[in-house]
């Protein structure tokens, strides 16, 4: 086995073994679009200038889940046209649980590019600026949670119901980014983008440990070290027993424009971010690239609530000794046990600022220019969310016809699926450039009928990715050589 083959096999194996679920626009990477600097700031389009119009420049929608599809929830039953849910008595819940993984994640990311500007500087410099509205959310549900709900805890005897992977994080923030790229050598180009982040609202679960140990005698030990951090217009009220009494949405600030402006400015929750990338022309035909994107954090200081539960509690049944001794009634013993349970998990409510980190991505790419306009590419994208690594590997064929037209077809192994066929297209009409791309084209659809409507939904929900928008583009830094040869040999 040659060295190259070995490394390729190792890379493919790593993708298969890793919890393959990344979230990106893999197709975008090798296309000739101004937005590809979002994935690697060293990349630049062929246009000299681009302007992304507010709200129209780019909308990116990603929804990923790694465990459930429509036909896992609703199953065709008997008679032929009947439908049953996975909770139907005739359905074996083990079939549903077979699809459940240890860590079941659901992620969404929506980015709306409010403004984008990019222009060439000098021979090889490129400056770009972006203002983005970003909403990122992800939740990880431990597999044991589903098993507990559907099968109960008896099967866990002698084991731990491990809920330590329970995680949730959602944040809404403004992103102001300014970047620059240029060639440092003939072959090496480096780009960097600094980002100032303004957090508007966030909620995150900081789960250091959460689990229930079910002993062989069915006594239970609950341990929790869990903090829910929130920044947003909500007030949490506690009762005298230090338990959450109510959570009330505070709408008073939105009654004045000043209050609403102050809230949506996000100026009290400041964060920083960084994208850095490079491309290297290995040969005339082979280009290697690498980038780290969304490296950053937001420090949340405004409207902060921290709800912390930290304790361990063992429930081993009502102790009958007191009842037999006659010192307590069984009702009193039961009440004591419930009081102990309540007190064991008193929740503390504090207002300490907290930090959330952006899920950052690492891209490693390589392209081979088969012809001047046609290339094939290989891209590895790793996304690190907390302690989890998501991996995607994309093979693509890319056609870039100068400024006028760019298209890419991709195959991506991600999110435990190996049938992700993606495509992207961008074309230019005058100064207007349209683009539309998806990492996974939903070829198979389910038609959902009811009394009023028919709805088409993708048969596979694992990955739904769509990026579309419109740019104003000017100029073309790659000129075709129209000079006629001085000597023409017949």
């Amino acid at each position: 086995m040659t060295g190259k083959t070995k490394y390729i096999l190792i890379l493919i194996l790593a993708v298969i073994i890793a919890d393959a679920s990344a979230q990106n626009s893999q197709v975008l990477y090798f296309m000739n679009l101004p937005q590809n600097h979002l994935l690697n700031p060293a990349l630049r389009p062929s246009n000299k200038v681009y302007i992304g119009l507010p709200g129209m420049s780019g909308i990116n929608l990603n929804i990923n889940n790694n465990f459930v599809n429509f036909n896992d929830v609703f199953i065709k039953g008997q008679p032929k046209d009947s439908i049953i849910s996975f909770l139907h008595p005739d359905y074996n819940p083990d079939k549903f649980l077979a699809k459940i993984k240890d860590k079941n994640s659901l992620e969404q990311e929506t980015t709306v590019q409010l403004l984008g500007v990019g222009f060439s500087v000098g021979n090889d410099g490129y400056v770009f600026l972006d203002i983005n509205e970003r909403i990122q959310g992800n939740i990880v549900l431990p597999g044991d949670l589903f098993r507990l709900a559907l099968k109960g805890n008896e099967g866990f005897a002698g084991k731990k119901i491990d809920l330590s992977s329970l995680r949730g994080d959602i944040k809404y923030y403004h992103e102001f980014g300014v970047g620059f790229s240029r060639n440092f050598t003939d072959k090496l180009r480096i780009g960097i983008k600094g980002k100032l982040l303004f957090g508007i609202a966030a909620a995150s679960i900081d789960n250091k440990s959460l689990g229930i140990t079910v002993n062989d005698d069915y006594s239970h030990t609950l341990d929790a070290n869990l903090t829910v951090n929130m920044s947003g217009p909500v007030n949490v009220y506690m009762n005298s027993k230090h338990n959450v009494d109510s959570v009330v949405f505070d709408d008073s600030r939105f009654k004045t424009s000043a209050g609403a402006t102050d809230f949506f400015s996000g100026k009290k929750n400041i964060g920083l971010g960084l994208d850095i990338g490079a491309t290297f022309d290995l040969t005339d035909r082979i280009v290697l690239s690498a980038s780290v994107t969304d490296l950053g954090f937001i420090r949340w200081k405004n409207d902060v609530t921290n709800l912390k539960a930290y304790n361990q509690f063992k429930f081993s049944g009502l102790n009958m000794l007191d009842v037999i001794n006659g010192t307590k009634t069984i009702d009193e013993v039961g009440k004591d046990m419930l009081d102990s349970l309540k007190n064991a998990f008193n929740v503390s409510n504090t207002k300490a600022p907290f930090t959330t980190y952006l899920p950052f991505g690492i891209s490693l790419g390589g392209s081979y220019n088969v012809t001047k306009r046609f290339s094939v590419g290989l891209l590895s994208y790793s996304r690190i969310i907390g302690k989890q690594l998501r991996e995607a590997l994309t093979l693509s064929a890319n056609l870039n016809l100068g400024n006028a037209f760019s298209t890419s077809i991709s195959y991506t192994a991600e999110n435990h699926r190996y049938d992700n066929l993606g495509a992207g297209v961008a074309f230019r009409a005058g100064i207007i450039q349209f683009y539309l791309l998806s990492d996974r084209i939903p070829i198979m659809w389910n038609k959902i009928k009811d009394d009023k409507s028919n709805v088409m939904v993708p048969a596979n929900w694992n990955t739904i990715n769509l990026r579309l928008g419109m740019n104003l583009v000017f100029g073309n830094r790659i000129r075709e050589k129209n000079d006629k040869p001085m000597l023409l040999v017949e």
Binding site: F70, N71, F74, K76, G77, D81, S82, I83, I84, S85, L87, H88, P89, P93, L148, A149, L150, K151, G152, N153, E154, A157, V214, N215, D217, Y218, S219, H220, F315, S316, G317, L318, N319, M320, L321, I324, N325, R373, L399, L401, A404, F405, T407, I409, A423, V425, S438, I441, P442, I443, M444, W445, N446, K447, I448, K449, D450, D451, M456, A459
Partner: protein, 380 residues
């Protein structure tokens, strides 16, 4: 090239828009039935309990210096004889102990008991005070009446101690009746509901010294009381206690939120470290008194094993047992067809043929009972 590419893109776009219909789901045909049936298990009760935690020392239950448990039944004034109660005969004066009975108040218990119990070392202490100077001989006719039989004590007549006149005006002492001089173990092992007794006291006059003659004809008296001591030194052979109670599980009103039919399974898992040399089996039956039939019975999958014993009948360790009671859907379907529940407990002492064991107050049992339920939770 551009044309081909555009054609390809249009094809992709076409797929995006129209795609292939994999399945059509007519949601009007969606069954609204939805349920979950998780098996939930939780430790319900536990205990590490000694005999003395359950039974406190009292006038009836006594722990001796070695912590042996002894049941004590006392009856005062079983005998009170004065000289006037005796006949006027010169040599032998006879008094009659009127027939009487001693109710041990075990009748209610005895109605629920069957099987064999044997007490090995019971005793009766006849505590008396006697001031008669002449020998008093007591003949007692004692019989014990159990549920199905009567057992005589077979006690030979015995002579009471007399005071040592003139220095001693009366003597207070105890005459012990036990297995050495009677059939007492068999009598106690009945076990008796009542003990009937009658008898005679005979004074045989002797030639008196002058100086003490007046004492013999003075205000002499014989009083006595009984104390029945039953040490828990016993053997049990399928001693069965059966009790019938009203069916408290039955849903009479229909407003009980916990309908037994909502359970596919209810199981009680019991694990015990038994330090008592007594094994037990528990059974619960749904009983329909109108048809006099047992509708369904639940019993332990394994009986609680007794602790091992040493050569003296004392427990020498603990025996670990894991058993369970499984209430199936069949049981629950019969709950509302029964008006009574019969509980049956069967006790045996250690050994394949029950051996003599002793019960001490520091014996312990450590147990844990867990509840396993499989409810049918229907959302529609």
């Amino acid at each position: 090239m551009i044309k081909r590419s555009l054609l390809f893109i249009l094809m992709i776009m076409g797929l995006l828009i129209t795609g292939c219909i994999k399945e059509t789901y007519n949601m009007r045909m969606l069954s609204k039935k939805a349920h979950i049936s998780p098996t939930l298990a939780i430790s319900a009760v536990k205990g590490d309990i000694s005999f003395s935690d359950v039974v406190k020392p009292s006038d009836t239950v006594v722990f001796d210096k070695d912590k042996l448990v002894i049941l004590v039944f006392k009856k005062d004034s079983v005998i009170d004889l004065k000289l006037s109660d005796f006949t006027k005969a010169t040599i032998q004066k006879t008094a009659t102990i009127d027939p009487n009975s001693y109710d041990l108040n075990l009748g209610d218990v005895m109605n629920h008991i069957s099987g064999t119990v044997k007490f090995f070392n019971p005793s009766i202490k006849f505590n008396y005070t006697n001031s008669f100077p002449d020998p008093v001989k007591i003949s007692l006719n004692v019989t014990a009446k159990g549920k199905n039989s009567t057992v005589p004590l077979n006690l030979s007549p015995f002579t009471l101690s007399k005071p040592n006149l003139p220095v001693q005006q009366e003597v207070t002492t105890t005459f012990i009746i036990d297995k050495s001089n009677s059939n007492l173990p068999d009598l106690i092992s009945l076990p008796p509901e009542t003990i009937n007794y009658s008898g005679t006291a005979v004074i045989t006059s002797t030639v008196k010294d002058k100086g003490i003659e007046n004492y013999a004809i003075g205000a002499n008296r014989l009083t006595g009381s009984l104390e029945i001591d039953v040490p828990m030194d016993l053997s049990l052979n399928n001693l069965q206690f059966k009790d019938t109670v009203n069916n408290f599980i039955k849903n009479n009103s229909g407003d009980n939120p916990l309908d037994p039919a909502d359970f596919q399974l209810l199981r009680i898992n019991v694990s015990a470290k038994n330090g008592f040399p007594l094994g037990a089996t528990l059974k619960m039956s749904l009983y329909d008194s109108s048809t006099k039939t047992e509708k369904s019975t639940v019993e332990a999958t394994k009986h609680l094993d007794p602790a091992p014993i040493d050569g003296n009948g004392k427990a020498s360790g603990v025996t670990e047992t894991t058993t369970s009671f499984e209430f199936t859907s069949v049981f629950f379907s019969n709950v509302n067809k029964a008006d009574k529940i019969i509980f049956t407990v069967i006790l045996n002492t250690t050994g394949t043929t029950p051996q003599e064991v002793k019960i001490y107050s520091d014996y312990r049992i450590n147990f844990n009972a867990a509840l396993v339920v499989k409810p049918d939770i229907n959302f529609k």
